[in-house]
């Protein structure tokens, strides 16, 4: 301690060093100036790096050519947006994506809710982390590797078909692959944990006494779930569904690998504009903007609805 106060340590010497001292005096002269210096870099960063790409995408979507060739004038236009509505080859995948994402989100919710419920309510505190960690392990494995694992599971010579065949249930393998079913299995597999964690933390906060009180008053298991657990975990359901919906609309590799020609999603449509050498970027940007806007509007409406439901339950 004495060493530090006498200023012989590195930090003490630094603080006493003339130029550093002057710089500190200058930058911390007033709380206002100090804050401006602290805030300048973060604000600049989020504006140019976080917001910038989105704004630039929207700007490009309103132009007729990008990147601009020399000597060609760049004009602003709404044609890229008009193109979307003009052809069913564009808006069919769009609506398919939104419907698929909605259905897959609902499936994820139905599958993970009992799992989260079991973890939060029926496993002792000491074991909860262990049981949760067990489920987190596959989560660390990447998107492509897990998609490939599903391909092996569901292929014509895959494990599921082998099992069904050896049980004598089928003679010919069922073609699971390249359908909306295989895509659904893959996407639920990838997103399950984003649903599980918000549900788990919502259920964990729920006091156990509530369920016991309901049971004492004669409520059965289903009534207890519907009248006690469900209304009190709406917040967790709402944030889990929002997260999973947004993530499932953005998958590109999984639909390419697990889906077929009849399950083309909008991500594939958008990506198509960036693969070709031709000048299709503005259209791709417009389509991406449409999709982002639609996803935002849908999730915002959903959250409003859920919070209205929550308020209704409280009264």
């Amino acid at each position: 301690m004495t060493e530090e106060s006498s200023g012989r340590t590195f930090w003490g010497r630094l603080a006493a060093w003339g130029p550093y001292h002057a710089l500190m005096r200058l930058t911390t002269a007033s709380p206002r100036r100090q804050f401006l210096i602290l805030a300048a870099f973060p604000i600049l960063w989020v504006l140019t790096q976080h917001l910038g790409p989105m704004l630039q995408m929207i700007r490009v979507s309103l132009t007729d050519a990008y990147p601009v060739a020399q000597g060609v004038e760049q004009n602003f236009t709404l044609d890229n947006y008009a193109r979307f509505f003009g052809d069913s080859i564009f808006w069919m995948p769009f609506f398919r994506t939104l419907i698929f994402a909605g259905v897959f989100t609902f499936c994820t919710l139905i599958i993970t809710y009992p799992v989260a419920y079991f973890l939060a309510r029926h496993v002792s505190r000491k074991n909860q982390m262990l049981f949760l960690l067990l489920l987190l392990i596959p989560f660390w494995v990447g998107e492509i590797v897990r998609t490939y694992a599903i391909m092996i599971l569901l292929g014509n010579t895959g494990a599921v078909n082998l099992l069904l065949k050896s049980l004598g249930l089928i003679e010919r393998p069922i073609p699971f692959m390249y359908t909306s079913f295989s895509m659904g299995v893959g996407i639920v597999y990838l997103t399950a944990l984003y649903m599980l964690l918000p549900l788990y933390s919502a259920l964990e906060k729920l006091p156990k006494s509530m369920n016991e009180a309901a049971a004492d008053l004669g409520a059965g298991a289903w009534t207890r779930f519907r009248r006690v657990s469900l209304p009190l975990t709406i917040e967790g359901i709402s944030s889990g569904c929002t997260l999973v919906f947004l993530i499932s609309t953005g998958f590109y590799a999984t639909p390419v690998l697990l889906g077929g020609p009849s399950t083309t999603v909008f991500a594939e449509t958008i990506a198509g504009f960036f693969h070709v050498a031709g000048d299709e970027w503005p259209t791709g940007a417009a389509f991406a903007t449409i999709m982002f806007a639609a996803a935002l509007v849908l999730t915002a409406t959903f959250q409003k609805l859920m919070s209205a439901l929550r308020k209704g339950e409280k009264q």
């Binding site: 602290l38 973060p42 790409p53 799992v115 489920l135 987190l136 694992a149 947004l246 953005g250």
Partner: protein, 267 residues
Amino acid sequence: MNDRPELFRGNRIFLACVYWAFVLYVFVPLILMVVMGFKDSKFIGFPIRSWTLDWYTGVFADAEVLSTFGYSTAIAVLSTLISVFVGIWIAVMLEGRRFWGRTAVFGMTVLPALVPGIISAIAFRIYARWLGIEPGMGAIVWAHAVHNVPFVVLVVMARLSTLPRSQIEAARDLGADPLISFIRITLPYLVPAILGASIFCLLLSFDDFVRSFFLGGYEPTLPVLIFAKLRSGMSPEINAIATIALILTAAIGIWAERFTRRMNKET
């Protein structure tokens, strides 16, 4: 635990079955994939009649695959360093005093984490072109760094909110300026959060496909390589590559989980 288990026993057995069925659902595909890497045949599919280690030894002899591992690791490390540096700075600013427009800044901070994958990749692709960044390592590092910043900010902010303010005040009373008190008090307190966030960023970057795919040049990252190989047909070679990637990422994830938990308990 329920105080009166007899009330809930029926539910409990049902829910336990659902839980273990779910464990099977998340593990079985990965186990099958690992097993398939030992199959002594070019064709993916069951049943497996003879076994071999050739696919694995093949991976370690394949210079292209090995350099891809290195490339992905380098990208992960560089982007994590940037994300952590920027993320801490943003978190300290947001967790400090309240200011006008704080909600807007927070909203913009978490934006990259909420944008669906394909849209984020497209937006980065367009922006990189505008900035004049060529597709390749620099572009991927930049995109991963920006995408991962929100996760660092959220983890560090959570830790900052439990920082005992009295320690900072004591340091200031003893004459430490804001910078020195940050480096000597705040930063050491944040170490568990920083480590946890770093590991998370490393894994996110290492596993990322969509941004690497759209911003990459000729050299593929590991997920992009696996994707390209898959498009030209399934083979046990891919299983061997994927299994090695799986073991690496899962091991780092488990280790980090345990490590940060222990550190959080100690401090």
